[in-house]
Symmetry: C2
Subunit: 356 residues, 2 copies
């Protein structure tokens, strides 16, 4: 058990931004919103999954939409509205909240309703990274029902997807609703038990995010290399490093889709790395050769500061380092890859884990 | 109290097709579906609104989508699924059903779940005609809440719009959901009381549809003019008569939108009538002059047979008569016109009732 508070919020958001592989929402905006909630209502207890009481009702809350829109149309109290709506629909009260993904703003999204309601959050999430689509959660891969889910906007509209024939249909309907709501909304999904969380969530990811952020902040304060600090905190390796030479980005069908091209510097001089993304970075090719794909993490960070560079912030000229981090084990099973492997995103390539 | 059964179903559907002003779904397909349900489960009791018990729970069920798609992707048991979903959401059981609109297939849609569940239907509807958008119902104009509403498809997906800031937002969200569901779905809205039905519905429209259909069928059997039979059954007049010279129709954003042009014959030789529609006929212009607009009814019928010609059936060369029927009084108030007058559909013209 530990406490998410004003002191460690920056580290959590920064670490989650790195693990977010480009998506999960803008970490800085997420941090500001969570900070405001904690300032007003007090810090939030973070429970280890083992500390959850057996009769826990753990509700997953998160944001849905295009990060490109999320930086302009900042979320308000939608996750609280969605939480209330799902509690009302199911007749079950949450006893703890959990992140849908350990990405930028989504990693701290539950802290807002948690601070306001006094509920704890669980040190775990449904991805161990970020993914663009609702159904891409380890919860659902390993048997937790994806419905009912409630979606709420900032205006006062609320919809409950009560039943679908598949998790992909929940995504399809939720995305269409989100687009109407202005491309930015929050959702809450019916409660999980403690057993379900322990078995299907990626565990201790909020701690990992905090540790990663801490490492970067400490390295910067000491004038050390923040990239080395990241790789000293979690397994992974440098895939590339260079200057962003081109960004092609469009907000379409409720996603930020596009690609970026990085021109190599130093060790990579004369080489080129191309990354394709759908909210999150999906595939990286060095001079045409695939070097990393989902579900492994392709993390773009500022080479100087170690700050995560999310897809909505990509811009020409930025000096970046691209890191490859191995996917959580729950994703590299056949069931996991069937939901979030490279073929799901239309790439004609099998998943080949990065070699460390 | 009367009975909707296999004998009068054709008349009801035909009359509703005429009152449907081009929309409401294909009357023939609606009739076949209702016939099947009545054949299997028995006839349906039609209650006069005055016969409703004071503690009645009247649930409005109907179809939503583009009629152009509805003729290819025929509805199944979606209205029963939607009815069940809204009963479950509200915890209130229906004691009677009511049509959302007295248009083609929508007028008989409630007969299907009614036959299957043994519930009666009310001799009334929410429009007294058909309109393309969900919020365009006299119920909502006069204070009945439009939420919660449940939407179901034939596959097993169900969504409940639990709260919106306006009826127009319910339409917006419902339409986006319907498009994902394949442009054809059914919905059910939370129960109304008997008092609400009597005060806000257009009354005795199922009887009117049956009487109109009867008149046309009888006239045809006797070799009499079916158009005269229509105008002998309800107030209205002939606006035009001729041959369809052009149809421009596209299925977009969940609607069948377009226009048709009719070349005059007989009395109207040398003249041209143009009609614009969004599922339903919205405005008619004779040689450029507006002659009829919503909420008045612009009804296109086959000149020979008196059969309604719905927007999905419009085709070059068809001989048609265009009738103008006065709107129900509930629509010609300032509140009614604010929801379904010509300006709502983007026409820069005030409503001017047709002169009989």
């Amino acid at each position: 058990m530990w406490e998410a508070n004003e002191d460690n919020l920056e580290a959590i958001a920064m670490g989650a931004g790195i693990l977010g592989t480009g998506g999960g929402g803008n970490p800085y905006i997420g941090q500001l919103r969570a900070r405001q909630a904690i300032k007003e209502h007090g810090p939030v207890t973070v429970l280890d999954p083992e500390e959850l009481p057996e009769d826990a009702q753990v509700i997953c809350v998160g944001g849905i939409g295009a990060p490109t829109v999320g930086v302009e149309k900042v979320r308000d109290l939608q996750s609280l509205y969605a939480l209330r709506a799902i509690e009302e629909f199911t007749g079950k009260k949450a006893t703890a909240l959990i992140s849908n993904e350990i990405g930028g703003s989504n990693s701290v999204e539950p802290l807002i309703p948690a601070a306001m309601t006094g509920l704890p959050v669980v040190d775990a999430d449904g991805m161990g990274r970020a993914f663009p689509e609702f159904q891409m959660k380890t919860f659902f891969v390993y048997g937790v029902p994806c419905c009912p889910m409630a979606i709420a906007d900032e205006k006062g509209n609320t919809v409950v997807i009560s039943e679908t024939i598949s998790p992909a249909w929940a995504e399809r309907l939720a995305r269409a609703i989100t687009v109407q709501m202005g491309c930015v909304a929050c959702y809450a999904v019916a409660p999980m038990t403690a057993e379900q969380v322990r078995r299907t969530a990626v565990l201790n990811t909020l701690s990992l995010a905090r540790n990663l952020g801490d490492a970067v902040i400490t390295a910067r304060a000491r004038g050390e290399d923040p990239i080395e600090a990241i790789l000293g905190t979690c397994p992974g390796k440098i895939l590339f490093n260079g200057k962003i030479a081109d960004v092609d980005r469009r907000t379409t069908a409720g996603f930020a889709r596009g690609s970026l091209s990085i021109q190599g510097l130093a060790n990579y001089d004369g080489e080129q790395l191309a990354i394709e993304f759908q909210n999150e970075n999906l595939i990286a090719r060095r001079d045409g050769q695939v070097v990393c794909t989902v579900p492994d993490l392709i993390c773009v960070v500022d080479s100087e500061t170690g700050e995560p560079v999310t897809t909505e912030l990509l811009r020409y000229g930025l000096r970046v380092t691209v890191l490859g981090l191995p996917a959580p084990d729950l994703w590299t099973t056949p069931e996991g890859l069937a939901v979030a492997g490279p073929r799901v995103f239309g790439y004609d390539t099998d998943f080949s884990p990065i070699q460390l």
